[in-house]
Symmetry: C2
Subunit: 87 residues, 2 copies
């Protein structure tokens, strides 16, 4: 495979990644709505820790653990601001 | 669906997202190797702009354009540091 083949593969992967992150955002919105309906706190640090532990365990490489967690910190930040937007 | 059902869905999505980001990292490594072999520069700002344009066009919501790009800035950062690690 040459550089342009790999780039086509990356573009295809990016479409899938964007779709899955969007589905994750919809699920986070649904949880935010359920929490508000039951007057539960939206921010739960224990659950965030579970998510990071799960991501760490699922990471097959080649990214180092810290690199994958670095990406996930940003994903979690964005999900949190999405949930806040609905309040 | 209750909160715990949505969390199971999120855990499943996270496994898929981690897998796809890892495949993307492997593709970025392959491109880095090809560029080094042909003595091409590893950093290409024009290609990064293409990636951002593609992500923007692929984003179906509910995340705002800026939020999805914010996640992708982090993904690109991490890919760049992975490619540098190999030099």
């Amino acid at each position: 495979m040459d550089i342009s083949d790999w780039r086509k593969k990356i573009d295809d992967l990016d479409e899938q990644i964007v779709r899955l992150i969007s589905q994750r955002a919809e699920a986070a919105q649904a949880i935010g709505d359920l929490k508000r309906a039951s007057r539960l706190p939206v921010y739960e640090p224990g659950r965030e820790q579970q998510v990071f532990d799960h991501v760490r365990a699922a990471n097959p490489g080649p990214l180092a653990e810290g690199e994958m967690l670095h990406v996930y910190e940003r994903i979690i930040d964005v999900m949190r601001s999405l949930q806040r937007r609905e309040e």
